[in-house]
Each structure stands twice: as structure tokens, then as C-alpha cells.
């Protein structure tokens, strides 16, 4: 039997559903050309961020990737502000300056999505270092992909967190591909988690399609971190349902059959089946969440659409805290 409160279960369901609907809405808006740049969908991967962030509070940190919408939502960033950001609006989480790949919300401990593969990982190490120095209870989660696991910065970050016993959870979301490149080709070992031994930390594999498995294993890792035992590497085996980015056709590098196998393990459906089978949440309540989230998405799009674009002065704002404005324009022929 599930030993999770109803409230948390509902939060899990709402969070996963919000991620899914947000991703599908975002893709639709990209096609409708209402957003500016592309968008990397994390649909299919909802159980990872949700099962992990279920253990976190706003004073904990996460550092995210180019595929960051799910992390943001799970960490509590308001989807309205996210949608407005995708639409490049002044009301967006980042005032329209960052877009999909850079959504951040410091009030939620969300250190930012990041467009450079694996580049945000040491930021989590640093946030954990601050928590340790200030003797705060906080932990930091670093998300990266199977592709990201091959970047040198991962090695350096894991070694640092290990020797300094920092409260970091390294989460590799192994969705089997980096763009079109299969992990089985690019990663020299069966599981990314197998590399943990080389850093003297536990390497744990979770079924990234099963939020309860993620929740349990993340709980242990967060517990280790909070109690001063140092970092853990947690690998979530998962799958992205759509292409690498909005315009990518994943069938060019993976089979329909493979896709079907993963869809059969859909994290939201699995969740529903489990809570319904165990009778811990009624269908009606789940359906109500679906509808509620759908309404929220409509509202997010309406909000974004109605929001103003940033004014021209935004170009020069927030480059620095203090630096002469004139110096940002000087010798650049920026005109009047």
C-alpha cells in the first residue's frame, strides 16, 4: 500500500498532469507560431521531476536543462509566467528575456533551465556548498540527460560534491537519446548510474516511468543529502514522447515499436491505475484535476497573449547590476 498522503498524491497527479498539458500546449503554440524560439518537450518524463521535487521545499535548489519545463513546474514555478515567457512577454518569469531554455524562478529555488548541455550542474554544487556553509537544511538537485552525462563538467561536479560531502542529488534523466544519438552508442557503460562508484557515491537506478519508484529512491537520496552523508547519483530511465525539439521527427532514429513500448508505461496512466487500484484517490477527483489543469492552461495562454511585449529599454536592462548604460550602447551604432 502506498504510504503517501492523499494530499501529496494529488499534488503528484496535478504536477504530472500540468507538465504534460503544458508541454502539449507549448508545442501547439510553437506550431501556431505564437512563441518565438523552439521548445523542448518533456512529455513522457513527468515522473522524474515530480517524484524528486515531491521531497523538496522552496529553500531547496534545482538546476535544470534545455528540457526544463517539467523541472520548473515540479519546483513550483507558475505555468502562467512560463507561458508568458515562451511568448516573450514582459510578464514572463524572465521578463521575456530568456525564453523556454532559460526559465528561472529564484523565489522557488529554481536556479534556471540552461541551454548548454550539463552546464547547470556545477551551479547546483555551488548552491549546495552555500547550504552547507550556512548550515542550512537545503539540498540541491542537478538534472542532466544521458547525453549530458558525457560532458566533462559532470565528472568535475561529481568529484567535488563527493570530496566535500555536499547535499547534492545528481539526477540523470536517461531518456535514451541525445537529439538523435542513442545513449547505448554514446555512453560507454550500461547505466550512467554505474559511474557513481568512481566518485564514491551511491548510484541508483529508478524506473523513470513510475513515480512511486522515483519517489522512494529520491527520498533516500534527499535523506542522505540532508543528513550530511553527501551526494547520490540517481538515474531515471525514461523516454521523451516527442522529438528533440518542436520540429524534430523522432521516427528518423527510433522505431514505432519502441515508442509503443514506452507509451505503454505512461507515468500518468500508471499513476491513475495504481491509485485507483489501491483506492486511495477516486476517479472523479483525478478527472477534476485534469479539467482544472486544462483550464489553467487556457488561462496561461490568455494571460500570455494579453501581456505586453517588453519595451525597447529592456534590451539594456539587467546586463549588470551597475554599469554605465552608455557603455552598453557605446561604439555599437545603436542609434538614438
Amino acid at each position: 500500500m502506498l504510504e503517501i498522503t492523499q494530499e501529496k498524491l494529488l499534488w503528484m497527479y496535478r504536477t504530472m498532469t500540468t507538465i504534460r498539458q503544458f508541454e502539449e500546449r507549448a508545442l501547439a503554440e510553437v506550431s501556431a507560431r505564437r512563441t518565438f524560439g523552439g521548445s523542448h518537450s518533456s512529455a513522457g518524463q513527468e515522473a522524474g521531476p515530480t517524484g524528486i521535487c515531491a521531497h523538496l521545499s522552496p529553500q531547496d535548489y534545482i538546476a535544470s536543462t534545455h528540457r526544463g519545463h517539467g523541472h520548473c513546474i515540479a519546483k513550483g514555478v507558475d505555468p502562467k509566467l512560463m507561458m508568458a515567457e515562451l511568448f516573450g512577454r514582459a510578464t514572463g518569469s524572465n521578463k521575456g528575456k530568456g525564453g523556454s531554455m532559460h526559465i528561472a524562478d529564484m523565489s522557488k529555488g529554481m536556479l534556471g533551465a540552461n541551454g548548454v548541455v550539463a552546464a547547470s550542474v556545477p551551479l547546483a554544487v555551488g548552491a549546495a556548498l552555500k547550504a552547507k556553509l550556512r548550515k542550512e537544511d537545503a539540498v540541491a538537485v542537478a538534472f542532466f540527460g544521458d547525453g549530458g552525462s558525457n560532458q566533462g563538467i559532470i565528472h568535475e561536479s561529481m568529484n567535488l560534491a563527493s570530496i566535500w560531502k555536499l547535499p547534492v542529488i545528481f539526477v540523470c534523466e536517461n531518456n535514451q537519446y541525445a537529439e538523435s544519438t542513442p545513449a547505448e552508442y554514446s555512453v560507454s557503460v550500461r547505466n550512467v548510474a554505474d559511474r557513481a562508484a568512481g566518485y564514491g557515491m551511491p548510484g541508483v537506478i529508478a524506473d523513470g516511468m513510475d513515480i512511486f519508484d522515483v519517489y522512494d529512491k529520491a527520498g533516500a537520496a534527499v535523506g542522505r543529502a540532508r543528513s550530511g552523508q553527501g551526494p547520490t547519483l540517481l538515474e531515471c530511465k525514461t523516454y521523451r514522447y516527442y522529438g528533440h525539439f518542436a520540429g524534430d521527427n523522432p521516427r528518423s532514429y527510433r522505431s514505432e515499436e519502441e515508442e509503443k513500448q514506452w507509451h505503454a508505461k505512461d507515468p500518468i496512466q500508471q499513476f491513475r491505475q495504481r491509485v485507483l487500484a489501491e483506492k486511495v484517490l477516486p476517479t472523479g477527483e483525478l478527472d477534476a484535476v485534469d479539467a482544472e489543469v486544462a483550464a489553467l492552461m487556457d488561462e496561461a495562454v490568455r494571460f500570455a497573449d494579453a501581456s505586453p511585449l517588453p519595451g525597447p529599454e529592456g534590451l539594456y536592462e539587467d546586463v549588470y547590476v551597475n554599469y554605465p548604460l552608455e557603455a552598453l550602447r557605446r561604439g555599437a551604432g545603436m542609434g538614438a
Partner: protein, 341 residues
Amino acid sequence: MTTTAREIRYRDAVNEALRQEMQRDPDVIILGEDIAGGAGRAQQGIVDAWGGPFRTTQRLIQEFGPERVRDTPISEGGFIGAAIGAAAAGLRPVAELMFVDFVGVCLDQLLNNAAKMRYMYGGQITIPVTIVTRIGAGVGSAAQHSESFYSIFAHIPGLKGVVPSDPYTAKGLLTAAIRDDDPVVLFEHKKLYNRTGPVPQEAYTLPIGKARVLKPGKDITLVGISLMTWECMAAAEALAKEGVDAEVIDLLSVSPIDYDAVLESVRKTHRLVVVDEDTPRCSVASEIISIVAEEALDFLDAPPRKVTAPHTPVPYSRPLEKLYVPDAARIVAAARAAVGR
């Protein structure tokens, strides 16, 4: 151009240069992320799933096989370092850095190995490696996927850099880069991939370090780099309507810079605007203006001007991004100021 020239796209010109050089020389190989795609799945019938993120390497793996067309993990320091090592050992590798914004994960290999090995070793080695990368804002990719950061490469002794602006120069400069015995970085502009133009069928090279005059003129010199060349051309057209006859120089190389071409033009027109999509400080635009000031001060009838991106990261929101990238209007304004209108 020759009788065999056809109209093809910039991306196809890049592809053709790679293919012809790989045909010509078995030592030419290509390494990069998803340059073929679906790596290791030939048995499942998956070959060339992507052909490169911008399709510039399409079909190469079918012709040359996975040993010579090598998908890589996301390890730019590692595989660019390996390309440099392979070049030191006798191959002539082409390595792809997907976007120039990522230079920071592999710069050490370029700065301390590729650029310096020949010098540090007293000339006993050549490093005939080509790095292909992408520049340019204007497609909503925000601060980490939109830079035009070639100034850093131009700064580094030991590297060369080329910035083709159309299919013809893309093929000729890439071919030259591959055949060159020094490390050369080729900057493709994202917004040029679909630009078409006449390109000879057969292989040819264009000299690295030579600019070209795209439009002669007598009143003012506009120097363009990569995509900015076309903004200069548009500005020249607008200026013509105002009776200002602008000369447009397409820089084509950022190292070596063809100062002589610029100086010759400025000695004729007495006015200069340099247009550079990179940010302004210590930029190629600054470099060119500084040399003109040093060597042709007396010829200048008006202050030389830069038209560049501002000293800010690239913003996401479209209206801001539009302000960010230099355009014909800003060039015209700078040119008007120079000619005193």
C-alpha cells in the same frame, strides 16, 4: 564562375565541399554531434537520421561510412581535442562545434593545443584541422544559442577564421579550410542556410584572408561580415536613393583580416562603417577601425563607425532581438552621419 555553376543553397554548398574533399582525400574525416545521427543503428536500418542539425552533413555517412563520418557524444573538448590529435598524427579532420556559444567547453583545446602546438614545438608539426561552427541571432534562440563570437578566434595567434556569406564563398572557403595546413574555423550563419546562389560543380578554393568588393562605390566604405554583408548591401541600395554611392566589402576572413582591401577602399571613399553582429568590445569591428586609424588616418574625412550588437547578451523576445541585431536602417543612419546628412 564556370559553366558548371548551378544555383544551390548555402547548406548544400557546405555539404558539397565536405563531400568533394572526402572523395579527394581519404584523410578527411568528420566528427560531431548528430552529423549523421542515429549512430550505431545501421543494423536497424537507421543511417543518417539527422544529417546534421542543419542538414549540412546529410548523406555523407552513406558515401563514406561511420568510420569517417563519426557521430560523437556531447563531449566537445574530447572530440575536438581528438580531432587536433588526429591532425597532429596526419589526418585532416573536420570537427563540428554545433553553436559557437559552446566554445567555452572546448576552448582550451583550440587555444592551448591547436593554436600553439606548431609554435611551441618549433615547427615540427602541422595541425590541419577544420572546425565548423554556427553563429547568428535572429531566430529566437536566446542568449546561449545566438552569439557571433568570432572575435575570440581572431584574437588567438595560430588560428584562422573564415565567415562565408553565400553559397559560393561557403564552398570555396570550406574547401580552402580543409586543405589548409593550419587550424581554420569556419563560421556558418544560421540565417544563410537557405540562401541560394551560383556555385561551380567542381571543387575550388577561395583564398583565406582575402575580402571581396561586392559593390564598388566612391562615397563611403561599408564592411560586412557574414550575414551583415547583406544588410550592408541593403543599406547601400537605400543610400543610393539618397545619392550616396557606397562601396560594400564582404570581409570573408576574420583571421587574417584583409586590412589592405579595407584600406584601399577607405583611401578612395574617405569614410568607413564596419558592421559586425558580434558584441562591440574588442571586436573585429574595433580591430578594423583601429588599423584604419593607425594606417589611414589622414584619409578619413569623417569618424569611422561601428554598427554592432550592443554590449549585452542576446535577448529572447523578438522585438528586443530585432533591436539587437544590426540592420540596414542602423547602417544607413551611421553612413548618413559619416557623409554628413
